[in-house]
Amino acid sequence: MKLLYFAWLRQKIGTAEETLTPPPEVATVGALLAWLAARGPGYAEALKDLSVVRVAVNQEFAQSGDPVKPGDEVALFPPVTGG
């Protein structure tokens, strides 16, 4: 699974992208966020307030209950501020 991090999430986690293999029981966006938060202090800090974390799976916005599977591209980012 390819993970991409943007903006202050990238700064707190310390990397812009990585390839990870979560255990098979991590099958939803919500479960993935919980598993990531436990990986280290940078992740915990980035993910401590999920109300300002948005997720895209394969470049489509995704909600907490949506599925994730091996091979997906999952991006984490703050609410967007373009325009």
Binding site: F6, A7, A75, V80, G82, G83
Partner: protein
Amino acid sequence: MTLKGNVSAMIRVQRKDFDIGREIDGLTAGRSDIGGLASFVGYVRDFVGKEKASGAEVSAMTLEHYPGMTEKRLAEIEAEAHKRWPLDATLIVHRHGKLEAGARIVLVVCAAAHREDAFAACQFLMDWLKTSAPFWKQEDTAAGPRWVDADAKDDALAARWKT
């Protein structure tokens, strides 16, 4: 991208600046069926918040985006505008990278046979772009860099277009 008949819908995500007049003329060149064209240009404002008098000064801004999803999302927003209004041509140009205060960030152009469709589509595209196009801004201020927070006002403006 060309939709049916003579309708065109284009998107560009780029670092370099754009020429507003050239882009607008490019959209209408060779066409006499367009009756009205509405456009919006967004700039890097040199202060934070509602009023210049009370806000921190901004000298520059860096825009980050999600290559792949950015183009996809802008194309979806543009296609939605074409579904809702009879448009002859639309163009979205959005810059990324480091931009100085006063620089152009985004251009939205909508051309139609009649002005109400051009005006409405232009506002719709900006409201939806502000809330769903994957860009993130970081401002350079005297107190250091700060990430711009999404504004609840933008969500409210986008929500008024819900069908």
